[in-house]
Symmetry: C2
Subunit: 399 residues, 2 copies
């Protein structure tokens, strides 16, 4: 069971979490719990570090920031004991959760499950501080924002858990954002691959890394509400999903910006000349389009995240060796994606998308596809219209 | 160097501490720093534990509360690096500071200085989280309130430091409370034995346990101001103090209450009948007086701390087997003590005290003495008058 910052936001909520855990124990289950810091605490600790110095030692940042989860884990252990449940808290170094030395965004290398399993065998609930590990030289490490999801999946894998339940402020994974499309349905099950695309395409339910880890170790993950007592969405192997829909969900991301180099002289090495410097500057380029050349010049469009736009522009301008006419940028764009493992074996999925958008007179700027998704870049003002049209076109509306 | 909660109360003050440490490094010294939690943080964490449960697992309390010092140590390490000083933070378990299993008030069993010394040899300042250690089964322990002083002395002993400087919100140890007696003088030096008496008799400069540890390991401790740059008071072996005054200081404690059993039938075992149950209930009894009996009955007076008065009364009433007439209590009392190693070899020190109080018409309720101190219990309203009279009587007034 994993509970995020909102679910443990104050003492009353931590007590509520203790009751949820007790209910699971009362059902005869052995339970390990992973907790985040109380909401707001991590931000406060990060602000302290920023106030101390503009450039700080990531190892010290980790030592400071990791304390938030340690506080919650101790408090939840106390809350469980108060309900008559044996429990003990575990900091990352006590388990240990061994990470690499990429402080601030460390990756888990290994979890030794023996200590926890020995205590669980004695009937103790293990309350694990999320988001942290122990790196080289006994230094505390953190896994980066949202890392508690990763901790939960990694602990579940180490304990060979039957299931990893991630409690959050939404009650599951929906076919699309229910705040925009009223007829959006909660999915009972979704495959790892689809969840991975949804996570990386803007659905904020789970951190991408945690889904990757779940897929790798075949950990069955359930996303469910920490405030209501009802089943959520199970993320599992495709095999476990009997009725696989053609399209499982429609995701969107507003954190997009488009950069177009207009009238680039058409010669070999254009793409390398643009993307080499961007990669060297560690700027993530998402979609790329280069049209067939006419009159000896071509247009090249790339998309990146809005926060990186200024940086990306500067890099392109400083490094572009090939002559070009001008640069256009557009921040008022959104990426809409349809996702479904079913499309592997079905043609026409993309065409349904293009037709549905065309019917609503929505212009497509850029298209990109993968084996199980089709993404298009459109003007931001059409977001809601596009989501609703696609949701209907793929037959996802609730009956 | 040890800095308490007020000295590291916010980011600006932690930066100030970093500058103080840098100045010491610039003088060519190798430095280890011990820090408390930012003021208010520990209280907040304790309140969380209390809110979670009325009776909590002390081990979980420790896991929660110890995080406060970990935050400060990381932040100070960042602050030092910002000033160009190599530094790293050390949680209790990283050093390790090994403690017993008396969680919440653990005692240090051993400090392994090797890890810290190796880093210091490479030119790193060691920033140690105070107040904590690691107990059995890799559990985090805390040393009890004020434990950071003890950490500082213990670390100084382990590193064989030349001096342990305890920075605080007072600039040294005074002959008496300067808020009450304007002519109080700061002592240049005071012996361990005297400091120990002063600490246990109400002077709040240093925690008793830290002075005991300093005495045992011959650690020279300096108490000085974290806000001003001037020498404080050195606590050291008697031998190092050339001109030893007869009386070094006058302490007082308001946390006193008096319980008198009136008209107790005079028979063997009265004292045992009273103190046995109090000891069994873990109530600390300080002063004890039993007058010579007349008319077959006697009065027995004990003093205890005000917070324990109600509990003590109940224990006495429930357990007193010997017949007695009534119980009187008095919470409006204060204990005033004169302290000085010089009185070992000089008669008349107590008499000077009694005469000075008599001259001011101050009635003495109870007297107790030890080798280097004389304590009297008087009515609280005379506190200031008594302190000033005694300060003058022992020639302590500043010239």
């Amino acid at each position: 069971m994993k509970f995020g910052g909102t679910s443990v936001g104050d003492i009353a909520r931590i007590k509520n979490v203790a009751r949820r855990v007790k209910a699971e124990v009362d059902r005869g289950n052995e339970v390990a719990v992973v907790v985040s810091a109380m909401s707001g605490v991590t931000n406060q600790l990060v602000a302290y570090c920023n106030d101390m110095a503009s450039m700080y030692d990531q190892r010290e940042y980790d030592a400071v920031v990791a304390t938030g989860e340690q506080v919650t884990s101790g408090l939840l252990a106390i809350g469980l004991q108060e309900l008559g449940i044996k429990a003990r808290s575990w900091a990352g170094w006590q388990i240990p959760i061994i990470s690499d030395d990429a402080h601030g965004k460390a990756r888990i290398i290994d979890i030794k499950g023996d200590n926890i399993l020995a205590m669980m065998a004695k009937g103790h609930v293990a309350v694990v501080a999320g988001f942290q590990g122990i790196g080289p030289e006994d230094r505390v490490s953190t896994l980066g924002r949202g890392g508690s999801d990763t901790t939960a999946v990694a602990v579940a894998a180490a304990l060979k858990a039957d299931r990893c339940d991630i409690y959050t402020d939404v009650d599951g994974v929906y076919t699309t954002d229910p705040r925009i499309v009223k007829s959006a349905k909660k999915l009972d099950k979704v495959s790892y691959e689809e969840m991975l695309e949804m996570a990386s395409l803007g659905a904020k339910v789970l951190q991408t890394r945690s889904v990757e880890m779940a897929m790798k170790h075949h950990v069955r993950v359930q996303v469910l509400s920490s405030f209501e007592d009802k089943p959520g969405t199970l993320i599992c192997d495709e095999d476990e999903i009997v009725e696989q829909a053609l399209v499982s969900g429609i995701a969107y991301s507003r954190d997009e910006a488009k950069v177009t180099l207009v009238g680039v002289e058409d010669q070999p090495g254009i793409a390398a000349g643009i993307f080499g410097p961007l990669a060297a500057a560690n700027i993530n380029v998402d979609m790329i389009v280069q049209n067939t050349s006419h009159d000896g010049t071509t247009d090249v469009t790339v998309t990146t995240s809005r926060t990186e736009l200024e940086h990306a522009l500067k890099v392109v301008k400083d490094n572009m060796k090939v002559p070009y006419r001008s640069i256009d940028t557009d921040k008022a764009v959104v990426k809409v994606s349809v996702i479904g493992v079913g499309m592997r074996s079905h043609a026409g999925v993309a065409q349904t998308m293009f037709q549905a958008l065309a019917d609503k007179k929505i212009n497509i700027h850029v298209i990109s596809t993968s084996e199980i998704k089709v993404s298009v870049l459109i003007s931001e003002e059409y977001t809601e219209l596009a989501l609703r049209a696609l949701h209907t076109a793929y037959g996802l509306d609730a009956a």
